[in-house]
Each structure stands twice: as C-alpha cells, then as structure tokens.
C-alpha cells in the first residue's frame, strides 16, 4: 500500500478545491511520495470558451499557488481539453501516476448536471487507483496548529490512513477508497 502514494496526481479545479485537496493529502504523503498537480482548462472545441484563455491561465496560476502553499514546490501540469476527465487520465499516464487523489466537491445533483460530473467520469473510467479523501476542513488544520488541541489533527490520521474517520473533519463528505487495479475493471 505504500506504493499507492508514490506518485500521486492531484486534479485541482479551483483555489478552494486545491486547498482542500492539498490539505487532505498532506498527512499521507511520506518522504518518498511525489505530487503532480493538474489543472484542466475546459475547451469548447470549435466555439468560444466560457472565459478568456488568458484569464483561465492566470486563474490556473492561482490554483497552483494554492497547492504550493500547502505542499511546497510540487510539479504542476496545465492541460487543455474538451473533456476534463480525459485530460486527467492523459496527465496520469504521462506522469506515470500511482494514484489519482482528490476530495469530493459536493454539490447537488442539479449542480452536477449543470457543470458535468467529472468525479463520476474519473471514478468509473479510470485505469489506475483513484483515492477520494475527505475534506478535513481549514478549521481543523489551523486550529490544530494554533492551539494544538481541538479539531482533527492531521497527524493522528496519518498513522491510520485507511480508517480516517470522516466525522473528524468539518466536511460532510464520506471518505471512500476506490480502487481498480487495471483497465479491465471499467464500469459497464
């Protein structure tokens, strides 16, 4: 299991998502593990994009900065694709990632319908392990450092990563570990 986090790919969609993902993964990363953060600019494919490319690139800079703020100088990869999940898989293959790690972004069914459910695609179409970590929440991390008592100190989870109790976190998302060993385990 130690190999699972040898080289993790963090798909990060927004500054908030980057903070949550980096916060969640930090306690589990050993000295040997390396991280590649990937941000995908969704292209309309032959039509004007939702926002200017230059605008999205500058936002990507903010997103990567948010990852670096938590995890130090990690590798980053900016991709352009009409399907976000395809770009994530391509990045995972290019970087030979041992696992794709993210925190769920929540949101109602309607919101998912509007924005496209990237999570579902990633989980159902993956060719390598996918690890979903609970968002442990900003309060938990900062409180833990400032007063050293209340809140879920991430270190306590690190000793027992597979059984990280989601109730400790500020998030209501459920922790789950999804794994699929090879390309033959695609969902129907």
């Amino acid at each position: 299991m130690t190999d699972l986090l040898a080289r993790v790919l963090l798909p990060v969609a927004s500054v908030e998502d980057a903070q949550a993902t980096a916060r969640a993964v930090a306690p589990y990363l050993g000295d040997a593990g390396s991280v590649v953060a990937v941000h995908v600019i969704e292209k309309a494919g032959g039509a004007p994009d939702k926002a200017s490319v230059e605008q999205r690139e500058s936002y990507a800079g903010e997103v990567f900065d948010a990852v670096r703020e938590q995890l130090g100088d990690v590798e980053t990869d900016l991709r352009f694709d009409t399907a976000v999940e395809d770009a994530i898989f391509a990045a995972a293959a290019d970087h030979d990632a041992s696992a794709i790690v993210f925190t769920p972004r929540g949101g109602s069914r309607w919101l998912r319908l509007l924005t496209g459910d990237v999570t579902l695609h990633v989980v159902t179409e993956t060719d390598r392990p996918v690890l979903v970590l609970p968002d442990i929440g900003e309060a938990a991390v900062e409180g833990g450092e400032a007063e050293g008592s209340v809140g879920a100190a991430p270190e306590s989870e690190a000793s027992n990563p597979e059984r990280a109790d989601p109730a400790d976190g500020a998030s209501d998302d459920t922790a789950s570990v999804e794994e699929s060993a090879g390309g033959d385990e695609h969902a129907p």
């Binding site: 969609a13 927004s14 500054v15 908030e16 998502d17 600019i41 969704e42 292209k43 309309a44 494919g45 032959g46 039509a47 004007p48 994009d49 939702k50 926002a51 200017s52 490319v53 230059e54 605008q55 999205r56 690139e57 500058s58 936002y59 990507a60 800079g61 990567f64 900065d65 670096r68 703020e69 130090g72 100088d73 980053t76 900016l78 991709r79 352009f80 694709d81 009409t82 972004r105 949101g107 919101l111 509007l114 924005t115 450092e145 400032a146 007063e147």
Partner: protein, 745 residues
C-alpha cells in the same frame, strides 16, 4: 500538439459563425419592417451603406487583430494605440454598447415569442405593468445571462448549427421570393435623408464582426483566419441583408409591410407566410427565436472578454473578473452585464436600444480606425500585422469619417446620451483609472519621446493625460522607537527623490488568544507607544516636506503582516529595521513562510541601524537585480545628502583587470559614474568588512533569492552584517513569479 495549439481551437468557420451569428439576428429578423417603412425601396441601400461603413472598419480591425491577437479586441487595440484615456472610452462604449445591443436582441426575441404565443395587451407583474414582449424579453435575458453565468460549452457549438440553419432558411426564402419578384412592387422612397436615418437604426446589425476580434486569442492561425472571418462575415451578411430586403420589397405588394407592421405582426414572418404558407411562417418564427437568442448569447460572452481586458489594464477593478470556482466562468462580469441588460430592456424602446447600440459602436469604430493610423504612423518594432489594410491611408480615414458622419443621422438625444457615456468614461479615467493603470499608449509615448519636434499643445496634452500608476509609496513598519528616526529619515529621503509618500505603520501584535476585534478597540492601551511613535514619524517625515500617512495595524502575526500591509497599502518600497529583537519571530512553519517570501510584493530595504550617517556609502556588487536596487538607493541618498559613494567588487585573484572593467561599466550603467571603484580579492566578507572601515553606511544587495525569508527564520545571510560597525542596508528587489513559472515551475 503544443499547448499553444490546444488553447487555440477556433477554426476559420467557427470564427466566421461568431460574426455572422451575432449580426444576422438583428438585421433580418427584427429590423426589416421598420427599415422598409421608413426608407421604402432605399431600405436595401441603407443596409448596403451600413455594410460598407462596417467593411471599412473591418479592414482596420483585421490588421490590428493579426498584429495583436489578444483577448478584448477593439478595446485592447484602442487602449494600446491611443492610451488609457481613449481606452477607457472604447472599453465602456464597447461594454455598454453590447449591453444595449443584447437588450435590443432580447426585445426582438420577445416579439417572436409573443407572435408564437399570441398574447396581446398588458401584463401586470406586481406593481409593474408591461407589455408581454418586454416581460418575455426580461425572462429571456435572465435565461441567457444564467446560461453564461453557469457556462455551458454546448451553447457555443449550438451557435454553429444555428447559423447554418438560418442561412438555409434565408436561402430558401430568397429563392422562392425571387420567382415572385416584380420591380413594379418596389415602394417609393422618401429620400436620402430618411435612408441615412434608417442606416443609423439598422447599423446595430453590423456589430458582430468586432466580437470576433474579442476572442482573437483563441483563433487558430489568426494571421490568416482572423481577417477572413472578420471581413468575410461583413461581406456575407451584407449580401444576405440586401437580398432579403430586395425580396421583401419587390416580391410583395406595396403597402403590405406597412399593413403587417400596423397589425403588430413581424414583417419577415408574414412575408414568408405569403410565399410558403404556414411552413414558411413557422420556419421564420423558429429562425427568429434562434437568431435573436444567439446574438444575445454571443454579445454577453463578448462583453465579459472586454471586462477582462479592461480589468487586466486596471481600467476597471480586476475583482470584476474573478473566475467562479465551480463554473469556471467570469461570473461577476456576467452578472453586472446581465443587470445592465435587464435595466436597458425595461428602459428603452426597441428602436432606441438599437440606436444606442449603433451609436456607441460607431464611436468605437471611429477610434479603431484612428488607432490603426497611429500604429502605422508610429510603426513600433513589435507591430507586425500579417494582414494589411488595402489603400492605406484612404480606407481607415474614410472608415473613421463615415462612422462619425453616420452619428449625425441618429436621433440627437441618443447621440448626446452616447457622448455622455463617452464623457463619463473620460471622467472615470481621471477619477479612477488614471492612478491605477500603468500602460501608456503608443501615441502618448510617441509624442512624449519627440517632445522637441512636436507642437507644444500636443506635448502638454499628452503629458497631462498620462497614467501615473499611483504615486511612489514607501512603507515603514515601525517596531522599536529607538530606530524610528533613522528609518523614517531613510524612507523620507527616498520618497522625496521619487516625489512620493511615506506610509508609517505600527504593527501591534497581540497574542493569538485575543480576538482582533476587541484588540483593535484597546489598541492604544495594548501599546501606548503606538500613538507617540507615529506622531514622531510624522514629524520626522515632515522635516523633508514629504507627505506622510500613518496606520496602526493590529495582528496576530508580525513579520508576515508586513507583507500583507505592503500589498494593502500599495507600497512600492518597504523600509524596515532588523535587529535581534525587532518584529518578533516567525509564527508559522517554515515552508509556508518560504511561500510568503518567495513572492516579494515590492522592493525591500532592511536596515540594521547603528545610526543614520549617509556621508560615505559603500556598495559592494557582483551585478544582478538586487544590487541594481542598492545602486538606486545609493544614488538617491547621494542626490539627497551629497554622499560620497564607493563601489566594491570582489574578484578572483589574477582577474583584477576584467573586474575593473566590469565595475566601471556597472557604475556607468547605474548613473554612479562619479563613484570611487575599489577592487579586492579573496574572501568576500573579509573584503567588505575591511572596506567599511572608511565608510559610514553599507548597502548590500541580496546576493541570492530569499534574503528576507532567511532573515525571518533567524539564519542571517552574512555575518558581515553583525561584524561591521556602521549601519547596514540590505536591499531585495520586488519579485513576483512569472505566470510561466507559476504554471510550469
């Protein structure tokens, strides 16, 4: 494919449909009835003249677009060429012009929905009474604003299909109509004046081509595809407009259009019904809905690009361009534009909205043509358009003149209102944007660089509207009262040389357990030295005649607060003291602190204060950006206090000759030609220490990245700072990681 190619995915056809899709909605589906009624058979000429004026500007937009394929289009070119004063006018006119045009499209959309549903009269919604057309327009506008707020990439692709469908409908309409055409049907024309008035009204049908330039950065091979799309879309829609208008006047009886319009029906739909029965009418109704919707949708999208480009230049607040974390859309910009559209739908009649859209765009088109002339005249080295306007300078001159001339045929009140918006944009520039924007136009640079040859009024006009990007601000975080005088003296001397301001701040640190809000109330009690310290600082700065601001900041953190305060107060330079006990020790883990200090928000001077005596300055240098700053400080102090300056370069043994050459070049390159140059060999720190014997102050450039981060983490850079007897100033340049480093670092 490279990143660049992946980011640019608009092919020639997609680019063309942006233009055609934005324009065709208004020209064919909303305005022909009004146009035929007011200009008779000359309505065709109105559309052709409008197309001709648009084409002249399309040439200029193409050339500028291939030279600068940047997001923001027309605004960007005008701002770049004519400077931010005109940039502000073009940006606001383009933004509001699109909002007016979108409101107009939505009212057109409302007419189609009403025609289909067939409800007349007045609808009362709460206290408001409005026509069903306006109600539908409001709902439709809210819908398309919502679509863009959430950002569905499918709408863009749908646009291509819609344009193809519209072209097919209109082709059938024209062909069938052609068999019925009879020149005897052509109505009489009321004259050239009303024809030109009609051109002013229908010019709103020719706004779409500039929207292509606003997405220029996404177009594949823009050098070839952008001119084709821009010019091609204008030519194509002009031909379609002319043919459809010809059919509508020649293939129906005289008076038919007037009858239909009087009955509240839509002219083009009734004409199609006449030719093709209910099938024709249905096709036109569907076409009208799709066309007005796609025009509005494309305009809302384009306006957010203009907002982005304006925010990038600080003409408006960049906060307007925040990206939504979930939808990845510029949601604030779209919401503000959406609000404007709703107001305009409520406020204006369909013709007034069309004319406002036309008038504001005519102002932009005139400026665009002038921008082209300026770029050609000044011909900066980086201006390399792949496409060049034919018959220069006749084409852009004619484009500018005809655009302004057409304004004369739009209702005076609306033109005055448009000029009022332009005037408000000028006021906006002087009150808001001038202190924030930094970009100077090519025109201003050109005039000011040739101040001697240019006529005096031009030079004074150019310099009086220059952006100042804010005045130079030197922030001094004060902690220890003992060093207040020396730090303020140093800061004031530099501020005075820059004609800037000193910002004295006292950062009061309170324990983590104390809430900041309650601490702020008791700030004076918590630290009674604060008031005295800032009063002293004020008095010291005033002896230099430098304006001074004072602030007390209450914070849990000390050192990091300096960075935040520097950002908050727009500091260009921070002058701070550093000693064994100043500003506390860092409170956070080191990696986070490294992150804080790897982006240095402005220049920093850190002073180890052993008395302020600028009589003889020693500046050791090995080149590099941080010693550029130490040279600048030495130069400013020399100008203020008449200091003697010695430059020191420590070379490898045996390379003294090349070292001498280096230091003399360096001195000349930094305006320190009169400084004494000293070459030493051996250990750097020993050499510096030895050289300080004769000097009163040592100015050190940070020799490598992270001087500040190591200062705060306690591992001081050079022992020499502690070992010499004089004051030491350490200089670190502003450092911001480039976008490239942040994305691919």
């Amino acid at each position: 494919m490279t990143e660049e190619e992946l980011a640019k995915d608009l092919g020639p056809l997609a680019a063309l449909t942006i233009g055609v899709g934005t324009m065709i909605g208004a020209g064919i589906f909303v305005l022909p009835g009004d146009a035929v009624q007011s200009a008779g058979s000359l309505a065709i000429a109105s559309f052709v003249i409008g197309g001709f004026i648009a084409l002249l500007t399309a040439f200029s937009a193409s050339e500028l677009g291939t030279a600068m394929p940047k997001s923001g289009g027309a605004y960007y070119y005008v701002n770049h060429a004519l400077g931010p004063l005109f940039g502000s006018v073009a940006g606001w006119a383009n933004w509001l012009g699109l909002a007016f045009a979108s409101a107009f499209y939505m009212v057109g959309f409302g007419r189609y929905v009403q025609d289909i549903v067939g409800v007349g009269g007045v609808v009362a919604v709460g206290p408001f009474a409005m026509t069903p057309v306006k109600l539908v327009a409001l709902v439709g506008a809210a819908l398309f604003i919502g679509v863009n707020y959430v950002g569905a990439k499918e709408t863009g692709r749908l646009q291509n299909v819609i344009v193809m469908l519209l072209l097919a409908i209109l082709a059938v309409f024209t062909l069938v109509g052609a068999f019925r055409a009879d020149p005897a049907n052509l109505p009489a024309s009321p004259g050239v004046g009303s024809m030109l008035g009609t051109t002013g009204l229908i010019f709103v049908s020719y706004l779409g081509f500039v929207q292509i330039t606003s997405v220029a950065e996404e177009i594949k091979a823009p050098g070839r595809n952008l001119p084709r799309a821009v010019i091609g879309s204008v030519v194509l829609v002009t031909v379609i407009y002319a043919l459809v208008l010809l059919i509508m006047t020649a293939a129906v009886d005289q008076g038919f259009i007037a009858e239909v319009e009087a009955a509240g029906e839509i002219a083009v739909v009734q004409t199609a019904a006449l030719f093709l029965g209910p099938v024709g009418a249905t096709a036109m109704l569907v076409g009208g809905l799709l066309a007005t919707a796609s025009s509005a949708n494309a305009s809302i999208l384009a306006s957010s690009r203009i907002n982005f480009a304006m925010g990038r230049d600080n003409i408006v607040s960049p906060d307007l361009n925040k990206i939504h974390p979930r939808f990845a859309t510029p949601y604030r910009s779209i919401a503000v534009t959406g609000g404007l559209i709703l107001v305009f739908v409520l406020a204006g009649s369909v013709n007034d909205l069309a004319k406002m859209g036309s008038a504001l765009h005519l102002i932009i088109y005139a400026l665009l043509n002038v921008a082209l002339i300026v770029m050609r005249t000044v011909d900066p080295a980086d201006y390399q358009p792949d496409y060049r306007v034919p018959l220069y300078p006749v084409t852009p001159l004619l484009g500018a003149v005809t655009s302004v001339a057409l304004l004369a045929y739009i209702d005076l009140t609306l033109v005055l209102f448009s000029f009022g918006i332009a005037a408000a944009a000028v006021v906006w520039y002087f009150l808001y944007a001038r202190t924030r924007t930094e970009k100077q136009g090519i025109l201003g640079e050109y005039i000011l660089s040739r101040a001697e040859e240019m006529p005096e009024p031009a030079v004074s006009a150019a310099s009086s509207v220059q952006p100042d990007g804010g005045s130079y601000r030197v922030m001094v975080p004060l902690a220890n009262p003992e060093h207040e005088h020396d730090l303020i003296t140093l800061a004031s001397a530099i501020a005075k040389q820059h004609g800037g301001t000193v910002v004295a701040t006292h950062i009061v640190t309170v324990p983590d357990q104390t809430a900041l809000a309650s601490a702020a109330e008791h700030a004076d009690e918590l630290d009674e030295t604060s008031a005295q310290l800032l009063a002293d600082a004020e008095a010291d700065a005033e002896t230099f005649g430098v304006p001074v601001e004072t602030h007390t900041i209450v914070s849990h953190r000390s050192f990091e607060e300096v960075f935040d305060a520097a950002r908050d107060h727009d500091a260009d330079l921070v002058v701070m003291g550093w000693g064994p006990d100043s500003h506390g020790s860092p409170g956070r883990v080191e990696s986070a602190l490294d992150e804080v200090t790897s982006t240095v928000p402005c220049d920093f001077l850190v002073m180890r204060d052993r008395g302020f005596d600028p009589s003889h300055l020693l500046v050791p240098t090995a080149g590099g950006p941080d010693s550029d700053l130490s040279a600048e400080v030495a130069r400013l102090l020399q100008a203020e206090f008449g200091s003697e300056v010695t430059l020191l370069h420590v070379a490898e043994a045996g390379e003294e000759a090349s070292a001498r050459e280096f230091i003399e070049d360096w001195a000349a390159g930094h305006d320190l030609g009169d400084a004494a140059c000293r070459i030493e060999t051996g250990d750097v720190e020993t050499a510096i220490e030895a050289a300080t014997g004769d000097c009163s102050m040592l100015i050190l450039g940070a020799t490598e990245r992270g001087l500040l981060s190591r200062l705060v983490s306690g591992s001081l850079v050079l022992d020499v700072v502690d070992e010499v007897d004089c004051s030491v100033i350490m200089a670190e340049k502003k450092r911001r990681r480039s976008l490239r480093e942040r994305l691919f670092g």
